[in-house]
């Protein structure tokens, strides 16, 4: 039921890898905060499905995980993985970073495609793609009571936005959907890998605040 091996697709394998990687990132951060197994599961599942759930609510569609147990099972696998490999997770960092990036690319492209299919304008689809990829991580950080990581580091969101723009343009000019998804997804992956390798980051905002309290 989890995976029908007769017609398992390339897309489903990527979906599994990405969901697992997102859930593991949430579960690990929850563990670092001494959450119990339930808390770790909730944070993991929120990281994995949070962005897509927000997208589906905004699109007024039934959230994708409510009709397919795949995503909740993936998140349970993530908790088991973290428990079993807890002494080896640091050594697996590069692998999970890559899988996380694959998930980011997939979720972004799915978000753009679903929004365009709902008949919304291109700029809205690009926003929704970035939201699908990045909002789960923001919710994760809100739940563990930390300032969202992606607001301070890396070109994480810029990778989503660039991939989303590419997919939306490809869709407009009529490129085959699968080819378009692969090209745009690879763009997300390449941009993020380059950003991390060369420590590229957006400039930070600096303001002078003599009286922060005044402006509510």
């Amino acid at each position: 039921m989890l995976l029908n091996l007769d017609n398992i697709t390339f897309y489903q394998i990527l979906d599994f890898i990405g969901t697992l990687a997102f859930a593991i990132s949430g579960t690990r951060l929850a563990a670092a905060k001494h959450f119990d197994l339930f808390g770790a599961y909730v944070v993991g599942v929120t990281t994995a499905i949070g962005g897509g759930t927000m997208r589906d609510i905004l699109l007024n569609q039934t959230p994708f995980w409510m009709t397919d147990p795949f995503y909740l099972i993936c998140s349970a696998v993530a908790v088991i993985w973290v428990v079993v490999f807890r002494r080896h997770l640091v050594r697996q960092n590069n692998t999970w970073f890559l899988f996380d990036t694959i998930g980011l690319a997939l979720f972004t492209v799915v978000g753009v495609e679903k929004t365009l299919s709902a008949g919304l304008p291109m700029w809205c689809a690009i926003i929704m793609g970035a939201m699908t990829g990045a909002a789960g991580g923001i919710m994760r950080d809100v739940l563990i009571n930390e300032v969202p990581l992606i607001f301070r580091k890396e070109i994480y969101a810029l990778a989503c936005v660039t991939g989303g723009i590419m997919f939306a343009i490809g869709h407009r000019i009529g490129i085959d959907t699968h080819l378009n998804a692969i090209i745009s997804g690879l763009a997300v992956i390449v941009i993020r890998l380059l950003a991390v390798k060369y420590h590229l980051a957006l400039p930070k905002l600096k303001v002078e605040e003599a009286d922060e309290e005044k402006d509510a």
Copy 2:
């Protein structure tokens, strides 16, 4: 208007008790953070209606409190109660703990029932039941800027999940709905009381993180 005494039901009394207890838990924590009356009300009302609102949004139904002022009035009663009895709240702890548990049981069962009625699968209904019972408390802790309490203590959520599974099975095998609700609700109450009495808790996750920053 709040309570039509001609046909006030057992269910309505439980609903009042549970809503009041949830709102009081939010109001007290807000007061401990020196919130003003308005802030205390918002936190109280979020604790009381947050879980059910999330459920109704996911089910694409009008949130239950938008057509019946009962829940917002209950939350106002909670603020008044906290103001009037502020020196006696600690002595009332056991009572409010019991009422809070009654609310947890009721909200869980209502959440499972409503989701099954919407035609969604059993496993989804169990998740939605736990969400109805527990998400309000998570939102409360996000608003007061604390790590959600239920991620670190007690079998709170496990009680919801067990009660939800019992109700869903009873529903499947055709037990009378009222009887089913009472049995499942009592299971939630008993599990939580036992968990607190014997200090039962889920194990905490422990991981070794040499480099937490890498895994965004």
Copy 3:
């Protein structure tokens, strides 16, 4: 496209001023937390559209910003403004405070009107008006990991509620909508300005908590 100057209306100018002021308040607080440009934009946009988005989701309508790029562009203008005028923002405090208050008044009235138009009861419309005005600021503070400011200071929300009650009553007794909106909006502005000028605030709740942990 942003502003069609042929039929630009008084309402659109107010909408621009209010959205800009809300977004700037979010962007400034994000900058004070050393967020990067993307993070500052997300916090700004959340402050500007968060309340109305929550309202539209609860009303089961397509969120207002998904069909009109105006609001996302406004928020980008806010980030540019903060970058360009970063050394002069403190001197602009009074102006932005006034614009923020205009936004609060407008968003409150729009929220009440939209909810009444959806056929919901008056008390619900008043709540939704206050939510439209105030929820964006709460989300902003959750994102920057601070206790929401409006829970501790000023008559911010009380101004929304009063203006909302006035608009709902005016609507019931049949006052012309535009006149009603102007009167109610002015009430919000006057109440907030007076509250800040005379340091009016709601009383804080005080409770004695010997054992905060017990009450989950």
